[in-house]
């Protein structure tokens, strides 16, 4: 069998438009909006010959493929590699890269460890940290907000919430970026990530060991589930690893993207300050508008179809969550960032049984961050041009030169 990017080469149905393009081209990753519009214009599903994969980016189709865990599997990898045919670069995640019934078990344990109740209990610490951080930023005035704000907040609160006793902030941020670059094709981004894997992954696994965790964090909740026999101790460690791969870089991105949206849309910032009850909806709009996770793949587990078009078993389907979140058919005026939109149903956290299990924690973090900004900051202004950082799955900023002016 011929493999392309670690998966089966397919012969797409003749009804599928063929688009000779690279969804992982650096320029597309840095500024994907026009490219997404082209993707949607081509049809419900397109064939990307370069990677011998199908791709979806219209809202309804993307939502349907993403929700259909029976036909479109996660266990064969959420990147371009098909784990049924090629060796994964790390032991697969037992929550992200798994199907029911195995998934059901780990999912339940994880959703309890990060329930709305747990998120609420963490809220007080999140708010104190956010208040102190915003005070510090206002004293500095001008900052590079990716490092000094977006990275600073989650790397302070999240390891504590997990109960980590050894913390390496750089490794924590970079591990997520590496994991997400690794689910792309074998391009420069992935190669760079791969060279750094051994060092960072070793540290991560060490930090996830029970002996390294406090007995009152989210990590302890997982080991309690292991004690109760719901999962094994080894599974508990792997799930702590999932906290770190999916819970740090993503919220760093969420905070950075929120600052970018607010600095670019001063009228919306004014509207938010005037009505703080829009804090939580504003974050949903940031998620819709910037899609911190822009792309994930699924693999068809059997012969199936998308929008009536036959799809053969073993087909990789690249799902553009970012494009779906900008589909005018769904959103009317997707190009406008509006804090009062309340975009229920956006796909930034995915949808269905694999919908982001940490979303309550992410919302609690952003609620604290935006709350502190609203309370203390009058204006957020650029002191230079923002720079996006290409990643095979994450749509994040590399540089945010900003000035914060106190109320």
């Amino acid at each position: 069998m011929t493999l392309v990017e670690g998966h089966k080469q397919i012969a797409p149905d003749t009804a599928v438009p063929v688009w000779d393009t690279d969804p992982y081209d650096l320029e597309v990753l840095v500024d994907p909006y026009d490219w997404w519009a082209d993707l949607r214009a081509k049809g419900d599903v397109v064939y990307i010959p370069r990677y011998s994969a199908l791709m979806v980016g219209r809202y309804e189709t993307t939502k349907k493929v993403f929700s259909d865990h029976e036909n479109f599997l996660s266990s064969r990898g959420v990147g371009l590699d098909d784990f049924a045919l090629s060796k994964p670069w790390r032991p697969p995640s037992i929550i992200l890269e798994v199907d029911p019934p195995d998934h059901t078990k780990t999912r339940k344990v994880m959703s309890r460890a990060m329930s709305p109740k747990v998120a609420k209990a963490l809220g007080e610490d999140f708010r104190q940290t956010a208040d102190a951080l915003v005070d510090e930023i206002l004293e500095k005035g001008e900052i590079e907000a990716v490092v000094e704000f977006a990275e600073a907040f989650p790397t302070t609160v999240f390891p504590k919430a997990v109960g980590m006793t050894i913390v390496n902030k750089r490794h924590l941020v970079d591990y997520g970026a590496m994991v997400f670059n690794s689910i792309g094709p074998d391009n420069e981004l992935r190669k760079d990530a791969t060279t750094r894997v051994p060092e960072v992954a070793r540290w991560i696994m060490e930090a996830c060991d029970r002996s390294r965790l406090t007995d009152d964090g989210m990590g302890a909740l997982l080991f309690e589930a292991a004690d109760a026999g719901d999962i094994t101790a080894e599974e508990a460690s792997l799930l702590v690893r999932s906290f770190l791969s999916a819970g740090v870089d993503t919220t760093v991105t969420g905070i950075g993207n929120a600052l970018w949206c607010l600095a670019n849309n001063p009228a919306e910032w004014e509207a938010l300050k005037a009505d703080p009850s829009l804090t939580r909806p504003a974050f949903e709009e940031v998620l819709r508008y910037t899609s911190p996770v822009h792309t994930f793949c699924r693999t068809s587990g059997r012969d199936t179809e998308i929008s009536g078009i036959p799809v053969e078993e073993g087909t990789k389907v690249i799902c553009s969550l970012g494009s779906a979140n900008m589909d005018p058919e769904k959103w009317g005026d997707p190009e406008n960032f509006r804090v009062a939109r309340k975009p229920v149903g956006h796909l930034a956290f995915g949808v269905g049984i694999h919908g982001c299990v940490g979303q309550n924690i992410a919302r609690a973090e952003l609620d604290a961050v935006l709350g502190a900004l609203i309370a203390k900051v009058d204006r957020i202004e650029w002191t230079g041009d923002p720079v996006w950082r290409p990643n095979n799955a994450i749509h994040a900023l590399d540089r945010l030169p900003l000035r914060f002016i106190a109320k």
Binding site: P116, V357, Q359
Partner: protein
Amino acid sequence: MVKVTYVQPDGTEVEVEGNEGDSVMATAIANDVDGIVAECGGSMMCATCHCYVNEAWTDRTGERHEGEEDMLECAAAEVRDTSRLSCQIVLTPDLDGLRVQVPEAQV
């Protein structure tokens, strides 16, 4: 179409027409019904689409789903026997005329 009536905590009622196959949550969102927040969009990851099913309808709306109980425990308002996550109630012709009450708080 399936008619659904949402009763607000202050007693005001709004009757809307939902599509078969849509959830009670999605129907509320599509019609801008107050008090159904639905932060997670229907992934059963939050409890912000909590509702009380009118007692005359609980037989037809059925049992809570696997995992729904866990989330309801986190609901902001009082949880009653009739409490459901409205994202987990899918409209069928059998539910035409359904009445649900919106709780005092969701977050």
